[in-house]
Point group: C2
Chain length 438, copies 2
């Protein structure tokens, strides 16, 4: 049984080229495994003249509208990124009865509910495995393999740029700016890295993953975000001395009836698998009531891993797997709104770096501010210094405390006369316990 499926590629950048390369070079493999052959009917690009090398092989065009409504096209692959014209073209394709494959997390973080609904109404499906975690089949796991689980927590390193920068800072003792430059030089960060380093890209992906894991409508605005752009090399070094790596984590955690949703630099203990995720790799830890701890690791971005996820979705749609799941699953549309845990209520352990003058009573001032807010110390580290005049860093780790209490305590600490610069505060994540597991 051989089936020909007509597709159109919207966008012919790095990932688009990767998709074409798999469809071309692995044509026989795909046909052997599934009996499916993809006919690339149009490749839509902004400037046809820039793709002269493939002009003889593919039908290049700038007319996206005509391409997505071509009656010979069954699946539209959107790889343009951004909100428009991508969003409008996807809507147009769905209305024309085409399935859609997209890697566009920015769009899905804003319009997924509307576009998924549109797809359902037109009895077509949207494959979006490539939108989160690159080649890691995490969307598939959440909507299939782990479907029998109440999910308790999902923690991920889902931005390769940030993880690469943090790995460089940790490995070489570099500051943020130097590590960013190196990442840009090696192609792991874009010329304008804002969306990556400020955590927004991570939050968009978390919105998608948390919706699927917890079956509530999560948007980017529900997530408390801080990025890596203010991190200092000192804290990465001190954390390492304490046995922790600093990672930008996306965290969605069930707390009673609410979800704690956040993206921030986090101290991860070296024994946690997430601490071993280096360079541009991504990883996602999922805790479910039946599976316990499950961990997925792989390349979260880049040409071929992302193309792998796109082609997997093409095959999934052509085999009927995604259309059936999409039609059946109630996890894409009509989700109840998320009940977000107020950030002040969030409990965790903390790493603090207080910069104080080494004078009588300075230390007591810090500890009593913490004590007044019910925060108890787990460890305190202050190295001997030569002179009494230079400000000294005091590194403190605490037991669990509510963020509200910590914020108040830091306000008091920073008002002490001995304090030389604002206190650095980074959350420490303890791996959630597996329920009912040994």
């Amino acid at each position: 049984m051989e089936t020909h499926v007509g597709i159109v590629l919207l966008g012919c950048g790095v990932v688009g080229r990767g998709v074409l390369s798999i469809l071309d070079q692995e044509r026989d493999l795909l046909k052997q495994r599934t009996g499916i052959h993809f006919d690339v009917r149009h490749v839509v690009c902004r400037d046809v003249s820039k793709h002269a090398d493939i002009a003889g092989v593919y039908q290049l065009t700038t007319n996206a509208e005509a391409a997505v409504t071509d009656p010979g096209v069954q699946i539209v692959v959107e790889l343009m990124g951004g909100l428009e014209p991508a969003g409008g073209l996807i809507a147009r394709a769905l209305k024309a009865g085409k399935h859609v494959v997209t890697a566009n997390k920015a769009l899905l973080a804003v319009r997924s509910a509307e576009l998924f609904k549109l797809a359902k109404n037109h009895h077509v499906s949207i494959g979006f495995e490539a939108s989160c975690g690159g080649g890691i089949p995490i969307i598939d796991a959440l909507t299939r393999g782990l479907l029998a689980n109440r999910i308790d927590a999902l923690l991920g390193i889902i931005n390769g740029t940030c993880n690469f920068i943090l790995s460089q800072m940790s490995q070489h003792g570099w500051g943020y700016e130097q590590a960013l430059k190196e990442a840009q030089k090696l192609g792991f960060a874009e010329a304008d890295p804002t969306m990556d380093v400020n955590g927004r890209d991570t939050a968009q992906k978390l919105a998608i993953l948390a919706s699927l894991a917890f079956n509530v409508a999560v948007g980017e605005q529900d997530i408390a975000v801080s990025g890596i752009d203010t991190l200092q090399a000192d804290d990465i070094r001190y954390a390492a001395e304490l046995g922790y790596a600093i990672k930008l984590l996306a965290i969605a955690e069930r707390v009673g009836e609410s979800l704690a949703l956040r993206v921030h630099p986090t101290l991860v203990h070296n024994e946690d698998l997430l601490a071993d995720v280096s360079g541009s790799f991504n990883a996602i830890s999922v805790f479910g009531h039946a599976i316990g701890h499950q961990f997925f690791y792989g390349r979260g971005a880049g040409q071929m891993p992302t193309a792998s996820a796109v082609v997997a979705d093409l095959l999934g749609i052509a085999m009927g797997v995604i259309p059936h799941a999409f039609e059946r699953l109630n996890v894409h549309t009509d989700l109840p709104p998320v009940k977000v845990l107020p950030p002040d209520q969030l409990e965790s352990r903390y790493y603090l770096r207080v910069t104080t003058r080494d004078q009588p009573g300075a230390f007591a001032g810090i500890t009593s501010a913490l004590g007044r807010h019910g925060i108890s110390l787990k460890s305190v580290h202050q190295n001997e210094t030569d002179t009494g005049d230079n400000p000294v860093p005091v590194v403190v780790t605490t037991h669990r405390a509510k963020q509200g209490a910590m914020t108040a305590a830091i306000r008091e600490i920073d008002a002490l006369p001995s304090i030389q610069s604002p206190t650095i505060c980074i959350r420490i994540i303890d791996q959630p316990t597996e329920f009912g597991q040994v």
Copy 2:
């Protein structure tokens, strides 16, 4: 849209009880996510009187034949294990037009080709996610998420019992027997642990995984197997000193046109994620031409993780996902026979522990035997000893060499007059390189 699906459970042991618990306690969650409600029409057990606690809730019976052919049953869940009567009942169910979910790797390692074919002929499907890696959705990944990849290698820790025993040996410096006893005491090893510790259970799972990854028919007999039952505490200690953990790995690796297939204790470098897999956890590393390195980690056995995989398959079948994939995919049946790389041709690095008398020329005898077979040393470790009379262990690691050469060299070494006991030889695995990746 709500759909009722009739199922029968063959076997009501630990995993069966786990399945019933998910179907009962997560009834609302499953219905909310998928609109599917499972009616457990029969629970087949060997001795009805042993399940009095659920006799009022489920229709208990010893009549498997009648249960699997009940016209109200759409899916048969086989959790009896073993070749018969499980195999016969599955065949019977397929012929009666029922889909099947099974966790039975022993059966699939022997009869998968025949049973998959039977399923295809009767337009039904077999879900077997629970047969390998417990709750880890690795079958799903190989047949869906990674489908666009030429797989280069698959390496796994896929027997929780062995990994638990090895972790105990490593952690406490225990010998094999003591660690086994502890594992049995804690329920991580069965009273008769033979199939686990001799590597056969691992080989059965590897046969299933390698068939899917490489699209060739792999049977247990194609796999060279050695277990952990002859491992000595000394080697775990020496390996640790060199920066390696010893793990029982299942390995399928493309070498030219052939597959190298084997299960054996292996030195895994501490920087490899596989070295961090402790206790009863499982993990699988997959290397694909597009995804690069991907790593899956989770609980590979136990009541609830396995039940999670079974219920995921039930949902997958009821949603139409598995039936469509199964019908479409050519990776289950009519696979060409595997071309196995002759073990002598297999190349790897090696760890050797040679036990020799500390006498002039002893060391030269060892190194020249290796040299004669073109094997070069990477490191040599011999601690100072007090007396010249006691045999001393010399620990050697080598560069890459063919197994045939190593076997011949060891034969010569062990024939040297200074040698006190047979040389221990364990392979060192270097993580395959990712192709085309940075």
